[in-house]
Amino acid sequence: MPAVLPATLAPGVEVRIGAASVRRLSDGAVEGCDAHGCTRVKAPPGVEARVLPAPASHRLLRVDFAYVEFEEPIHASPGDLIWFYAPLELEVLLSGIPALRLSTTRVKYTLVGDVVDGIICRYHKSPAYPGDPPPPVEGLALAAAEVDGDPGILPGAGVGLASSTLYRGEDGSIYYSLQRLEIEGSTAALRSTRRPPRRGLVEVRRPPRRRPALHQALQPLVFRLVEAG
């Protein structure tokens, strides 16, 4: 997300990032639009409106994970760092209170795991880049997965949306905190860290939230690797 967001949204100002746009109207109301519709929240002109990048966890359903399918599966060995693009949302805060949530890309979901005990995840498709991070793309965040355990062929990676922190680069690009992929046999388990994926990033400070629920914090995202035959 290279476009730098304004500190506050003054009346008449419009921000467009990817498929999302936020507009402060002259009467103080805030209108947010994305691929799934527009919402307007009334507010006096004196109320401070801010737009912050947020994990893609609330629009349209509340989910704890994003699953990013790689355009081509990638070979991963312990110690490898694999970069990919991950979905992102914008959060509009009115005097610090979350008022709107907009997606910068079309929302799609997938089930990772079994119908009985799998996890519904936000879905995104992205190329995978081993080693160095790819250039930032407007409306998408960058994420990196650190591989641990056995070597394997990864069909995709995940992002723990509920437990990740967002970081901002100097050029305005947004990064998810580092993800750890533990490969064991034919499955990979994902856990989020709160560490930035590279140096020189600044944490995106958001108003304090409720701590993640116990079940969110403890459950990893487990998915199957690519197997020949």
Binding site: H36, L61, Y109, T110, L111, V112, V115, R211, A213, H215
Partner: protein
Amino acid sequence: MTVSNPLAGLRVVDVLSAVAILVAGVVFAYIIRLLMRRSISPRLPPGTYKPLENLVFYSIVATAVVLALYPLGLNLSSLVVAGGLASLAVGLAAQNSLGNLISGFFLLIEQPLRVGDPVAIGDVSGVVVNISLLSTTIRTWDGTLVRIPNNTVFGGEIVNFYRTRARRVEFTIGIHYASSIKTAIDAIMRLMEEHPYCLVNPRPEVFVEEYADSSVNLRVRCWAPPQVWFSTKVELQTKLKETLEAAGVEIPYPQLDLHIKSAEEPVRVRLEEGGSPA
């Protein structure tokens, strides 16, 4: 047969002690419930928290009742013996309530349904709004509240629509024999791929189900998160006609072709003069 009165020789102090224990137990249960609501409730899903709260609360109250019997010189074993015929009679009368109570405990432990789950229990279908020790309350789809004894819930067939991560949306659509099956399948697949709630995995699918009298019937399937299953089904069915029309696929009316095989004699048509219309 003589039945000794277990309450004979009871002192006021003992009665007061029993009442004090009972009151202290209930107050303690309320305090624990308050603490749980402050510390655990925000961190657990409501469907998990509420039964846990009920279980802890009623367990403390039940323990207080048992403890309150001791100052009165009663314990559970002596009560059973002393109760004799009286307890048998009470037991028979309270058979249903006890059954509900025990079923309630099992429901809280096994948790085949939770508060907020959309379920079908026998003929009743709706959302669970409360699970107490004696009964379960369901808000039906048309908004009425139905209280079902826990005996019936636990002993009956429970269909829980939330206890699965995804639920299949499924319907059949007929297309005209003159329309291209491939075009129709491609258009329907595109519609499902663009719909946010049609999951990428398990994959949506469309296939020819039947060559019927008036149409080629296509079976349409996609999986959706259970909480949006109904809206996904409604939206897909609503958009389907428009999508197929845009792709040049016709949805036919039921029709019947009449073929006359005998060609040797021309078909004779006789017009008869009928009565004049009224």
